[in-house]
Structures are given as C-alpha cells and as structure tokens.
C-alpha cells in the first residue's frame, strides 16, 4: 500500500516538473518565467521527497535534510535573480 502512495507522489511530481518547464517556454517575460520555473519546481521537489519517504522509510533523515535545504535556498536564488534583473534594467 505504501508503495502505491509513493509512486503516485512521484507521478504527481513529474507532472509538476512538466508544467514548470512548459511554463518556462510559454511565458512572455523574465519575471513570469522566474515565477513559474521556481515555484512549480519547488513543489515538484517536495513531492518527490515525500514519495521517496513513503518508498524507503529508512532514508528519511537525509531526504528531509535535502528537502529543508531546497526549501530554504530555492526562493532565495529566484529572489536574487529577480532583484539583479530589476536593478540592471533600471540603470540602463
């Protein structure tokens, strides 16, 4: 039973990654690309970590460490890119 729940989470996560990359093609502006790329891929990574915790419960400490790291650094990098783009556009 736990295996089916984990595989369902993995499928949901890969669909989230597909939506993220499709939005990276479809969106017209830099800021919307930052928005759709970073938020949907953060959701996908968190779903993959939850699914891996269901599939292999003995790995859960390292997986939760990786999830906390990605949840901490991923919005930070998108914010740095958006701020740098805004500042470089204002000066020129």
């Amino acid at each position: 039973m736990l295996d089916y729940i984990g595989i369902a989470f993995l499928l949901l996560a890969s669909v989230a990654f597909f939506i993220s990359s499709f939005g990276l093609i479809r969106m017209p502006d830099v800021y919307t690309r930052i928005h759709v790329g970073t938020k949907a891929s953060t959701i996908g990574t968190i779903l993959i970590i939850i699914g891996a915790c269901f599939l292999e419960p003995s790995w859960s400490f390292k997986l939760l460490l990786l999830g906390a790291f990605i949840l901490l650094t991923n919005p930070l990098s998108s914010s740095v890119i958006a701020r740098a783009t805004h500042n470089s556009k204002k000066e020129s």
Partner: protein, 82 residues
C-alpha cells in the same frame, strides 16, 4: 511506471534546454540553469530509488548546493558586471 516518469523528465529537460539555448537575455538563461539544477537533483533522487543506492542522496545534496551557488553568483554578475 518508471518509463512514464523518465519520459516526463526527459521532455521537461528538453524544454528547459530549448529555453537555455534560445533565451533572449542573460536572465532567461540563468533561470533555465537554476530550474535545470533542481530537475537534475530530483532526477538523481529517482535514480537513487530505482537502483537502491543510498550514496546518490549525498551527491544530490552537493549538486543542489552547487546549483544554488551558481545561480547566486550569476545574479551578482548580472547586477554589477564581472
């Protein structure tokens, strides 16, 4: 079921690579690099589940660290120049 996951991941990787090659400005390419690093970390987790190796989780952690540092340093380069 693993085949469907691999197909979805490869399609998303090709779309991100298209944005990385075509993207009009430098910021688009940096965003594509950031998303590609996250996708590669997640695909490494899928490989760790498929081959039953716990060692791949450490490699995924280091790859996430390097991707974050790369995106932050490129943000600094966009803002202030080299």
């Amino acid at each position: 079921m693993a085949l469907l996951i691999v197909i979805l991941f490869s399609v998303s990787g090709s779309l991100i690579l298209y944005r990385f090659i075509v993207g009009p400005t430098l910021s688009d390419r940096v965003v594509a690099f950031d998303v590609m690093s996250i996708v590669s970390v997640s695909f490494l987790l899928i490989l760790a589940l498929y081959f039953q190796r716990e060692l791949y989780l450490d490699i995924a952690l280091v790859m996430g660290l390097i991707g974050f540092l790369g995106a932050t340093i490129f943000g600094r380069f966009i803002e202030k120049g080299i």
